[in-house]
């Protein structure tokens, strides 16, 4: 589980952006928790609270729009704590102070909303890793064993499709099952594409009964 802390001005027009980012990441990167400075109510001075958040974060998203002083103070704190920072802005990049202009920005004023969220996914994945990347190889191994044992000739879904399927299942609240058998079925089915023949699904269950009763 990775923590992502979002630094942005506490102004109403940013609330929707925050909620959009939060609900999108819950779907696309389910192993990440997204928080903002006002998410927890604690009996501490706000600045200390925010410093704690940043300290606990694995990655920080900072919105530099409007050159808000609080944002830049917290951004400085994040840099000092050597946290990886994903910078976003709706201003022109030239508006950013020289000290941070050297970093790459995701400029959401010039991007379609989907393209922005896509870029954000990529940036965060480069820090926390793709949560499903490590599951593809074991899934493919099971898939090949199943095909060999049942003498069926099937083409596995591409890795990208596999990861999209995993992400969609996580997005609808499903998780990798606990038991070895259910887990194997879950993984292999993500490689069978959207519309497998019913016989293939029966053969898969038969095979699982043989190898992991």
């Amino acid at each position: 589980m990775a923590n992502c802390f979002v630094i942005m001005p506490f102004r109403p027009e940013f609330n929707f952006l925050y909620l959009t980012i939060k609900s999108h990441l819950a779907r696309s990167l389910p192993e990440i928790t997204v928080e903002r400075g006002d998410d927890r109510v604690l009996t501490k001075p706000i600045l200390e609270k925010i410093a704690d958040f940043i300290r606990q974060a694995d990655v920080v998203i900072a919105d530099s729009t409007g050159r808000n002083p609080n944002v830049f103070y917290e951004l400085g704190l994040a840099h000092a704590l050597e946290k990886p920072v994903v910078l976003i802005t709706s201003d022109a990049i030239e508006e950013a102070p020289t000290d941070i202009r050297a970093f790459e920005f995701i400029s959401y004023a010039q991007l379609q909303p989907e393209a922005f969220l896509n870029k954000l996914d990529k940036a965060l994945q480069s820090v926390v890793g793709n949560p499903f990347a490590g599951m593809h190889a074991p899934a493919l191994d099971l898939f090949r064993r199943f095909c060999a044992a049942k003498k069926v000739n099937l083409v596995p879904a591409a890795q990208q499709e596999f990861e999209a399927s995993m992400a969609a299942m996580y997005g609808s609240g499903q998780r990798l099952p606990e038991s070895e058998r259910s887990r194997a079925e879950f993984l292999v089915r993500r490689l069978l594409g959207a519309e497998p023949q019913i016989e293939v699904l029966i053969a898969l269950k038969d095979w699982l009964d043989e190898v992991a009763p």
Binding site: A164, S165, M166, A168, M169, G171, S172, G173, Q174, P177, E178, S179, S182, E185, R189, R190, L192, A194, E195, P196, Q197, I198, E199, L201, I202, K205, D206
Partner: protein
């Protein structure tokens, strides 16, 4: 109130395969002591009490698709069947996977229902334990 007998909500489109499919599903469910609630003789409210939702999305019948959407939103375990492949299956259903059967091959449907139901009930029991 705790309900001992699990319930399944079933949505089927009208069509030549419907009567036979209905019989196969009813028999399989009853053999496993699961109460079948067919969408055409119950209300949508029954869906919220269901432990499992079975739907045949052949022809993308709008009532069936609507009920599948509700089931998906409620996070119900879904068992989807279809007689043909789609070129434009909604994204979230792609992940849930649709078992494609030939309309004349009720034996495969019976076997698939049987195994899927066994696994679903097994998982349900292990979650409760």
């Amino acid at each position: 109130m705790f309900r001992e007998q699990p319930q399944a909500f079933i949505a089927l489109p009208q069509g030549p395969a419907e009567p036979e499919l209905r019989t196969v599903i009813r028999e399989t469910l009853e053999r496993h002591d699961v109460r079948p609630l067919f969408s055409d003789d119950t209300s949508l409210a029954a869906l919220s009490n269901a432990d499992l939702v079975i739907a045949d999305i052949t022809g993308a019948n709008r009532n069936v698709m609507f009920e599948v959407g509700v089931a998906l939103g409620m996070g119900k375990p879904l068992l989807l069947l279809s007689q043909e492949r789609f070129t434009d299956l909604p994204f979230d259903l792609r992940a849930h996977q649709v078992a494609v059967y030939r309309p004349g091959d009720m034996e495969s449907v019976r076997k698939f229902m049987e195994l899927s139901l066994r696994d679903t009930l097994r998982e349900r029991a292990s979650l409760k334990a």
